[in-house]
Amino acid sequence: MSATLAGWLQAVALVGALALCYRPLGDYIARLLTTAKHLRAEKALYRLVGVDGDADQRWPVYLRSVLAFSALSVLFLYGLIRLQTHLLLSLGVPEMEAHQAWNTAISFTANTNWQSYSGESAMGHLVQMAGLAVQNFVSAAVGIAVVAALIRGFTRNRTDRVGNFWVDLTRISLRLLLPIAIVFALVLAANGVVQNFHGFHEVTTLTGGQQAVPGGPVASQEVIKLLGTNGGGFYNANSAHPFENPTGFTNLVEIFLILVIAFSLPRTFGRMVGDHRQGYAIVAVMGLFWVASAVLITFFEHQHGGTALQAAGAAMEGKEQRLGIAGSSLFAASTTLTSTGAVNSFHDSYTPFGGGLTIFNMMLGEIAPGGTGSGLYGMLILAIVAVFVAGLMVGRTPEYLGKKLGGREMKFASLYILTTPTIVLIGAGTAIALPGERAGMLNSGAHGFSEVLYAFTSAANNNGSAFGGITVNTAWYDTALGLAMVFGRFLPMVFVLALAGSLARQQPVPASAGTLPTHKPLFVGLLSGVVLIVVGLTYFPALALGPIAEGLH
């Protein structure tokens, strides 16, 4: 079979699997988020934690719960990392410095999984499983909880209640993420992903040298790292490591896990607002960008632009033989269009335009299909902007799903959209202006600038992947990128929840002849245009200095 045909078949198999999951998984999540029934085990859990599972919260209370839970998660994780040398299964790793532990604790709580450490030499097994992997679950659940509150803003009328955060968190973690994780952790382990509690195991190689075979509870962490769009590798090489991603089959499973929840959530949205067509319109826009990006990255990698890659004859630097160009490019597009940031090949060595697209994907705001929950709320904010733009064209007060989009709603939407670019551009600009931080680049010229731009884009959008050549384990980068992750994650959540509260309070307006239908191809086109224009205009100068300058050189 030719490589091209195999590449297309891989994409077709993936799209088929995602399409099969769209309805059942989307409907299942909708039921989880709407049913009034609690499982007996959940009732016991609520009693233990001290939560009234039947009491819905006002949006400020929902937000306070999100922030309190996340703040305690950061503190708990920070403590666990700093104290790990005294804990079980620490494997003799050295104590981590304060700025790096702070960065890591924020990174995992904010669903970013930016790693300024290297897994095999800095983390013991206990911190990996009881610290990092727990945040992989709950930070993903927080994202879905926030989008649930936003959807309730559309579906509920004249109320100040948007749901109960503790109930949402519990159900999503234990009834959605955990069952899928159990099944696929076993699938991965059956295919060679390791799952044990060993440390390094010394063997004598064929030539008589020494090699240390690593161990760890990898499969259980690998699966949630992808399913929860987190991305933090157990080992430094992340999903390129043969113990994390041993075959072409596990590679496809991992890409599927990255995408499956985010691509099914529009169905949840359609079901909750009582019109499946609204979900199809949103998923169409997500799918459009994902397909375009995957095709383009694969194309550019096959072209292997760049002097060094031309000399090598193929863009195989930083890529694994067993995964190949197609398996690597599809992974790269999927991980940067969601907030995952796991990598099975190293983006720093991608072609100028292929690597540039991975940056552009994140700049889109990770909405196609985006992180678990965060992708959908990002896309719904852009849908609100699209409806608003259309309203301006005809001079009517715009409405979306029966809710008027007045000044208050548009302020929250605008603040949401401005937050990330502000963080990215100020952060990257400051780093470039400081000589010490500039020295952190591995590569020179436009590509070096791309490394810095990538770092702040990745942190502020909570992606976590990197142009890995840059040296970021310094107090300045750990602190600056840590701040970018906190603000990039939680400020948008503030605006989303405020918007949810403001929508839920409204009395719905009936659709009239002047209402823009938001389920038709016209709206899909309009929304796609808004996504491109909003992002293109914001980041174009920065992209021109980095990947575009390098690619056209």
Binding site: M1, V49, H201, V213, F249, A308, F467
Partner: protein, 205 residues
């Protein structure tokens, strides 16, 4: 109790419950099942030769000559002609430092490395420099890639056969035997597992 404090106490209790379920019980369950159902895979696909563990079939290793002076960090290790050679590795096939070179597509350093590797590999294997396949010139993502392309394996047959004094046909058979196709016929890219191939080569004679 003030609301502020109560919210944080709830959060703390919730976090601890989740840590017990998702951070302790769940990985223990997966480890238990994996160790019972597929222990060899769950423990790293370790392979043996003559009853002794020699590595993992999933992790590449280097096949270099012993250094002249083992204490000299500047001395470049030289490839051993008796073995099939793996891809270049950014971390020298040390699983304690997995990872890639991260050199950019227009990097002068990478360009120089590619050109030097092309000349060295061509001379080592006695082939035309233009015919050396890309995987022999580029470092992998993990630095632990256990595979090389079929073209690179076939290019090395003549050199290994001469160094070992074994018939080339026998080596060609082994290369074919240790070639992994695409998973399920269409996923990933075919490759030859260097560790398993070299283990079989060592058994010849």
């Amino acid at each position: 109790m003030p609301t502020f404090l109560r919210t944080h106490l709830t959060a703390l209790r919730m976090l601890l419950v989740m840590t017990v379920i998702l951070g302790i019980a769940y990985p223990l369950l997966i480890t238990g099942i994996s160790q019972l159902a597929f222990p060899a895979k769950a423990n790293g696909s370790v392979v043996k030769a003559d009853g002794k563990e020699i590595g993992s079939s999933l992790l590449g290793q280097s096949f270099d000559l012993p250094k002249q002076n083992p204490d000299d960090p500047d001395e470049q290790a030289q490839p051993d002609p008796k073995w099939f050679q793996p891809r270049p590795s950014a971390g020298g096939y040390d699983p304690k430092s997995s990872g890639a070179s991260n050199l950019g597509p227009n990097s002068d350093e990478l360009l120089k490395a590619v050109e030097e590797r092309r000349a060295a590999v061509a001379a080592f294997d006695g082939v035309d420099p233009a015919s050396v396949p890309p995987d022999a010139l580029t470092a992998s993502g993990s630095g632990l890639d256990p595979q090389i392309s079929v073209a690179y394996a076939e290019q090395q047959v003549k050199r290994v056969a001469e160094a070992r004094g074994v018939p080339a046909e026998r080596l060609e058979q082994l290369v074919a035997q240790y070639t992994d196709g695409r998973s399920l016929g269409f996923l990933g890219q075919p490759g030859v597992n260097v560790v398993l191939l070299n283990r079989a080569v060592a058994d010849l004679k």
